[in-house]
Each structure stands twice: as C-alpha cells, then as structure tokens.
C-alpha cells in the first residue's frame, strides 16, 4: 500500500481544521498542523487539552467530526484502525494490547502471520521475528510468553508489531508513563532509532523533559485548541508549561510545614513481611509526609497494600495511635482494608481506574462509599445529609467539573483523583497513604494535590507518599525512605535528600550511581 518515496522530505501528515466532539464536550477545535516525515513530533498539553484525542485521530482510532487529514498529500479518511495500518499508520495506545496467552512473536505478527496453505509456519515466524528484532536491536525472546513481560518489554512488542506492518508513522500515547528510569532510557533510544530510519513518530507525553530530549517539533494544545507548533530546540520546560497553562508557573511545590517537635507517632510499622515486602519497619508522625521512593518493583506499593491489609500480611505489626484518646494500641496484622480503615488508615490506590473509582456510578456514590453509615439511619442512606457532606468535602479538596449525579468517568483525571481524596478524608483518618496520587493528572491538578497534601499535614494527618517522580518526593516529603528489593535501604531527611542520593540508593551502590 505505501507507495510513496520513503526519502521524500516534507509533510507526512497534514491536519486541516480538525474538530472533534464527544457527546456535548468539544475535545478539539480547528486544529491545523503539519508533521514532517521522519521527525519526532510531540503533542503536549494538560489532561483534557486534547492531545490524546489528536493522537488517536492521526492514527485513525477516532474519526474527526470536521476537517481534513492529508497523508502524503492525499486526503484520507480512516474508517478503522485496520485502514490506518494499511496506510502505514500505527497507534501504540496507553493501554497496551498484548495477548497475554500468546508468545512474543505471535503477538508481534498477530494478523499478518507468515503462513503456507493456511497453516502457520513456526520456523518462518521465528526467523522473521529474529530478523525484525535484530534490525532494531531488541533483545527479547520471541518464544517467551508475552503476558509475563514487564511493561517496558510489552512496549517493545507493540513497537515491533508496528514495524512488521511497515509502519511509516507511529503514534505513541504516553509510552513511558508506566516505565522505570532505565526502561525509559531504553525506549528513548528506540524512538530515536526509529526516527533515524525515516519513521515518523508522534509522541503524546506528559513528561516535558522527555519531550525536550526527543522531539524535533512540539505542538502545544490547550482546551482543545492549538496554541503553537514550535521547534523543540530553544524551548525549556518552563516555556512549554507556560504555553500549556496560559500562565506562568513559579514555585511548583508549596512550602513544607515543619513537623512539630513533640508530634506523636501515628503509625509504626515493625518487621512487616508480605508479598514483595521483606521486613520493613518505620514510624510516621502526625503532620509528617513520609516519602517512599524506589524503582518500580522495589516494593513501595506492596508496603502500602500490606499496611492497608489489601494484601495478606505474613508477619510483623502495624500500630496506629488514635488521637491520644485511647493511646497507642497494638494492632494485629490480620484483617482486610475494612479493618485498616477502622483503625484510622486510608489508602488512595495506585490505579484510580482499576482500584479506586466506580467509574459508571455517580460522583456522590463514589465519595460517600466508605462512610455511608455516617449519613444513614437504620441502614437507609439519607440523601440530604449525604449530598451536603459530599458537597462540603468536594469543595474542601477543590474538585470541579460535573455534578454529584454525573458518573465519575465524566471527570478529568485530576478531578477523579480528588474524588478519591474526598472519599478517604470523609472517614477522618489518622494516616493517609497516597500511592502515586498525581499519576496521569495535568499540571494544574498536580499543584492542587500538592497544596492539599500540605494542608492536610497542618491538621495533624500523617501521610505516607509513594511516587515515582523523585522531584515530587523531594518537594513534599519531610523524610524519605528509599526501597530496593522489598527492603528499606536508606532513610534520608530533607537536608540530605537529593535526586542523586535517592536514585543512588534506589539503583544500589554497585550499579550506576546517580541518574
């Protein structure tokens, strides 16, 4: 199908006046844009700015309502992703589409398997796979089970899949969001290599550092409209952010509130052993933000889930001191999240969509879920008090957009996250565990969440903060525990915690030092 001269410089894709609505919401409006062949073109903007939608339109996963797409000068209208693939356009979506029960090579050649008289030729498949993998320098066993791969390797499978379909244009939606640092570096190398070979890459990303590092050109979107398309050279994170927000961002993190010298210990964890956790002990004081840093897979989330009793705990103890009224009391590690909640622990889970929200249910039900007895009499939910309670809490966490009766799925990522904060805070916890509270939310919402976390410490809440964003940990936490292999390897205070010391400890002394 692709019969154009590969080396032809100039426009690969031209978008003219593209518009797109979802229901009553205008997602894109009058976007006009040219993407140069063989370039890396980044789309940036806040959540809800329309960058993912635009990426999907380019890749044929969404059809635009208005406007025109020219591919190599020819107007095209993709009716399905298959149409797009035939035209050499591939999408690697944020949610990877890997068939877990198939092998790597079967995944890569899915739908285009080499076959003879209708039968698949395994040997030919293996040969073609090895050839393809070698051409881009991936070391990935073709016979392995794709479901068992790490996320970074699954990304590679997707890329190989695109390449074996002769993709000339690959749209990548947040390819590094779920990756740890070394995998990010590896993927960046791959992306550069693709562009070097003449493949056009459209990169949708939240990470401005990544965008500046990789992209040739950057298109900034705001509220569904194009702000500007500029060469990446000469831009800085600050200039991009200012263009995205339409206002300049000065101090990103609110000032830390010092922990009172006599603040009591609200949570003490001793010798915790659980899946992925090999004997972890720490204390958390009232009004303190304790950061848990480490690489993906180091056991941070596992600690959180064990403390919250979402995972089964083998041994160790978790003690919550409630308000001084009852004094410290020993708590067994048995139980369920329900038990942990009763002790005064609340957790905002890592994945708001899979573990946090009831996406199809109204905002109100999502917020009041954990504390229904407070607004009920004789088991009957009292609508008035419930609505008032939810409204007050939503305004306290500054959640906007949508009424209480709208489904949670209608809110932006940042506001969805705030719903989870609202739910947790309604139970008036002593300890709050926030696992990646700003993942996948836009810059504005990030700031609001930072403010919120800081404000909460003023009320004496102890916060355990897990984040893959080292800057976030540095900017918010009073103390940092760095984890590796299910253990706490280092404790750092505000004074000696730097990106270098954290990453050094996270990677381990023997491996490379700081980033």
């Amino acid at each position: 199908m692709p019969d154009n001269d590969q080396d032809l410089p100039g426009a690969h894709v031209e978008l003219k006046d593209i518009g797109k609505s979802f229901g009553g919401t205008r997602a894109l409006e009058g976007v006009t844009l040219t993407i140069t062949r063989g370039s890396i073109h980044a789309l940036v903007g806040e959540n809800g700015a329309g960058k993912s939608t635009l990426g999907k339109i380019i890749a044929g996963a969404h059809a635009p309502d208005d406007g025109q797409i020219l591919l190599a000068g020819e107007p095209v209208r993709f009716r399905s992703p298959r149409d797009a693939i035939n035209a050499g356009v591939n999408l690697i979506a944020q949610e990877l589409s890997i068939m877990g029960s198939l092998t790597v090579e079967q995944n890569v050649f899915l739908g285009v398997e080499p076959s003879q008289a209708g039968f698949q030729s395994r040997r030919e498949l293996r040969r073609r796979y090895n050839e393809l993998a070698a051409s881009v320098g991936f070391e990935l066993d073709g016979g392995g089970n794709a479901g068992a791969l790490r996320t970074a390797d699954k990304q590679k499978v997707e890329i190989l899949r695109a390449l074996c379909r002769n993709a000339e244009l690959i749209v990548m939606d947040e390819p590094t969001a779920a990756l740890s640092r070394p995998d990010v570096d590896a993927l960046h190398t791959v992306i550069r290599q693709l562009a070097g070979n003449g493949t056009t890459v459209v990169l949708v990303s939240h990470f401005l550092g990544e965008v500046l590092e990789l992209a040739d050109e950057v298109t900034i979107l705001r509220d569904g409209r194009l702000v500007q398309t500029v060469p990446a050279a000469g831009q800085t994170e600050e200039s991009l952010m200012a263009a995205m927000l339409g206002r300049s961002l000065d101090a990103t993190f609110p000032p830390k509130r010092p922990v009172a010298a006599d603040a009591r210990t609200v949570l003490s964890v001793r010798d915790l052993v659980a899946p992925g956790v090999n004997g972890v002990s720490f204390d958390l004081r009232a009004g303190e933000i304790l950061g848990l840093a480490g690489l993906v897979g180091a056991g941070r989330t596992e600690v959180a889930r064990a403390v919250y009793r979402a995972n089964r705990v083998k041994s160790g103890s978790v003690t919550v001191s409630v308000d001084g009224r009852t004094g410290p009391r020993q708590v067994t590690v048995a139980g369920s999240p329900r038990t942990a909640m009763r002790e005064g622990i609340q957790m905002i889970p890592e994945s708001r969509k899979d573990q946090g929200l009831l996406l199809g249910r109204p905002v109100r039900e999502n917020v009041s879920l954990s504390t229904l007895p407070q607004v009920s009499r004789f088991g009957l939910v009292q609508r008035g008090p419930e609505r008032r309670t939810v409204r007050d809490m939503l305004s306290r966490v500054d959640a906007r957009g949508g009424g209480q009766s709208d489904p949670a799925s209608a809110l932006s990522g940042g506001n969805q996250q705030k719903l989870l904060f609202a739910r947790s805070l309604l139970s008036d916890p002593t300890v709050l565990i926030a696992d990646e509270p700003t993942r996948g939310v836009d810059v504005g919402a990030k700031r609001a969440i930072y403010e919120l976390l800081t404000t909460l410490t003023a009320d004496g809440l102890g916060i355990l903060l897990i984040s893959s964003d080292v800057e976030e940990i540095l900017g918010l936490a009073h103390r940092v525990l760095v984890m590796r292999g299910g253990r706490v390897v280092t404790e750092l205070t505000s004074d000696n915690a730097t990106e270098a010391t954290i990453l050094g400890a996270a990677f381990g002394a023997k491996e490379r030092g700081a980033s």
């Binding site: 229901g23 999240p337 573990q355 946090g356 929200l357 249910r361 088991g379 008032r388 409204r391 957009g401």
Partner: protein, 350 residues
C-alpha cells in the same frame, strides 16, 4: 450557569431529602461539565424500557382495547406474573452486584414441592416459611460457591441447578404433589383484597422492599459498588464477597416464594415446574429492562417493566390469536435488541 441568583453556592436550602426527582438535578458544584446526556440517544438510554413499553401498551389498547385495556385482563397479567416479578427483582440485585443466578428455576421447583408436601398435612404458614427458608439456604450455598470458592457464578449456579432439580425429584419421587384439600394453603395466593389477589399484593410488597433496599440502603449501594468495580469496592471497605453472597441468598428465597405462590394457586407442585424456561424468562425480563449483564448498573423498576413488557407481548399474541410460535421469535429479537442497544450506547458514551 446564568441562573438569576447565582453567586455563592447556596447554603443549606436547596436540599430536599428523600425527594425522588432531586437526583436528576445538578447540585452544587462549581463549573458545569456538559455531559453527553443531551440529545435523543442519551435520553433514550436513560429511559430505556419506558418508551417501548408505552408504545406497546398504546398499540394494544388501540388495537384490542376492549380486551386488553380491560381491568380484569390487566389484573390477571399482574397476578400471573407475580412469581416472575419477585424472582426477577431479586435476580436484578444479583446481577447488579456482579453475579448471575441460573438456578432460580430449579429452586422454584424444589421449594414448591417441599412447601406443598408439608401443606398437604400440616400447617400452611409453617409450610410456606420452610419453603422460603429452603430457598434462602440454597441461595446461600450458591453464594458461598460463587464467592468464597471463586467459581464463576454462571457455572456455579448452572451446576447447582442440576443438583437442586435432582433433590426435588427425590422429594417427589417423580410424582405430582397434590394438596387439593389444603385450602389454607390456597388462601396464600388466591385470596382477593380490593379485587387484587394476594399473589399480586405479595409481589407488590416484595418488589417495593427490594427496590427500597437497592436504591436507598447502604446494602444497595454496596451491591452497585461490588458489581461496578469489585477491587475498588474492597479497598473502600466494602465486603464484596459477603454482599454478593447476600444477593444470592435473596435470589434463592425469592425463587422459593415464587414457586410457593404458583403452587398455592393450583394446589399442586412438581419437580419439573419452573426449570430453565422460568430461569431464562426471568433473565430476559431483567436484561430487557436495561440492567447490565456486566453488573454495576440497573434498577428494580426497570426489571418490573421488562418482565411486564414480555408478559404483555404474550398477552397480545393471545388476544390477537396469533401463532404463539412467533412469540418466541419476537422475544428473541427483542432480547438481542436490548443487549445490543446497551452495548452500542456504552460504546458511544465510552
């Protein structure tokens, strides 16, 4: 957003606790977020079963008004559908909480043979109570298998339905159980109050209570939560397994009650009553009403209309003296439309 007296989010006043219509209004959040609820599609999705129901009702009224829109005919439909409506209302809870109960037809038969056998000689009240309790027990077993043993509820209840039917056959030794002399037992379904049979009254009471439980109580909220996202519900402190078990127990009890009502009407019972025909008619009613087979959304009133919709189609076929063979085909097509429409609108709003 340009309301006359906008300004600060009005304090205290606008809440009217317990007012049913108030859920539809948009309260109290700054900055509206235009939802895709506008337009015909959105409204059709919200209303769902209501429009086809009204259309069918009007068509039959105009066409065969003297027979169809007749008080006796309508009351008879209500009376005959009593058991289906009770079982379907309970099945709605099961489905909303994320399960499915394929054993209701078998439980229906088991409970009716036990109750009828007891009523033959003994106290009818005791017979009815025992029959319903057996249903609750069977449902609880279903629940335990489907939750704590982690066997998919579709398979678990399918397997259980064979077991239950077998037990029912053992109880009857394959014979029809007859209790023509147990007039006290007959009173349970046949007594008329204000021209409406006690079967229909019982159904109305049960359906209202189930509706209240689902839409207004904490337990109801937990059912929606469990079916909407089980892991999120668990992390929010909901005992997902427990709440699902409860829905199965309710479903079993409702199947028992339905079976007993129908046995009381004819004063006989058989282990071959109910069965898969009942199970699938009930499921069809739930799905046509608009409750999602994936769990997490739906309502009792929808099921109520769904079951009656199917019943009215049957009634229409009878009144128009059409070949009842086509009734089956019609029902199948409607079911496909209902499920297809649900999937399609989900796709559009996703």
């Amino acid at each position: 957003m340009t309301q006359p007296q906008a300004a600060p989010p009005a304090p205290e006043k606008p809440e009217q606790p317990g007012e049913p219509g108030s859920a539809a209004r948009k309260p109290a959040l700054p900055g509206g977020f235009g939802l895709p609820q506008a337009g015909f599609l959105g409204r059709a999705r919200q209303g769902g079963i209501v429009y086809p129901f009204i259309v069918l009702f009007l068509v039959l009224t105009i066409w065969k008004g003297s027979l169809f829109a007749d008080r006796t005919n309508l009351l008879e439909i209500l009376d005959q559908q009593a058991s289906y409506l009770i079982i379907a209302a309970a099945g709605t809870m099961v489905m909303i909480a994320g399960g499915i109960d394929l054993s209701v037809g078998a439980t229906y038969a088991l409970c009716q043979v036990i109750a009828t056998k007891m009523a033959e000689t003994g106290n009818p009240v005791l017979a009815i109570a025992v029959g319903v309790l057996v249903g609750v027990g069977v449902g609880a077993v279903n629940g335990v298998i489907a939750t704590f043993f982690r066997i998919n509820s579709l398979i678990a209840t399918l397997a259980m339905s064979f077991v239950i039917t077998g037990v029912a056959s053992l109880v009857t030794s394959g014979n029809l159980i007859i209790a023509y002399s147990a007039l006290g037992f007959a009173n349970f379904a046949r007594t008329e109050f204000l021209d409406v049979t006690t079967a229909a009254w019982t159904m109305i009471g049960v359906v209202l209570i189930f509706g209240l439980v689902l839409s207004r109580t904490i337990a109801g909220r937990y059912m929606y939560a469990a079916g909407s996202n089980a892991e999120a519900a668990r992390l929010a402190g909901v005992r997902v397994q427990w709440i699902r078990l409860v829905t199965f127990a309710i479903s079993g009890g409702a199947a028992g009650l339905g079976g007993i009502i129908d046995a009381s009407r004819v004063l006989s019972a058989s282990s071959s009553n109910g069965g898969t025909a009942l199970t699938f008619t009930v499921l069809a009613g739930i799905v046509v009403g608009g409750t999602s087979i994936l769990g997490g959304s739906g309502a009792i009133w929808r099921t109520f209309m769904g079951v009656l919709f199917i019943a009215i189609i049957g009634n229409g076929f009878t009144l128009l003296a059409w070949n009842p063979l086509y009734e089956q085909i019609t029902l199948g097509v409607i079911l496909l439309l209902a499920v297809g429409g649900d999937a399609w609108s989900r796709l559009r709003t996703a």
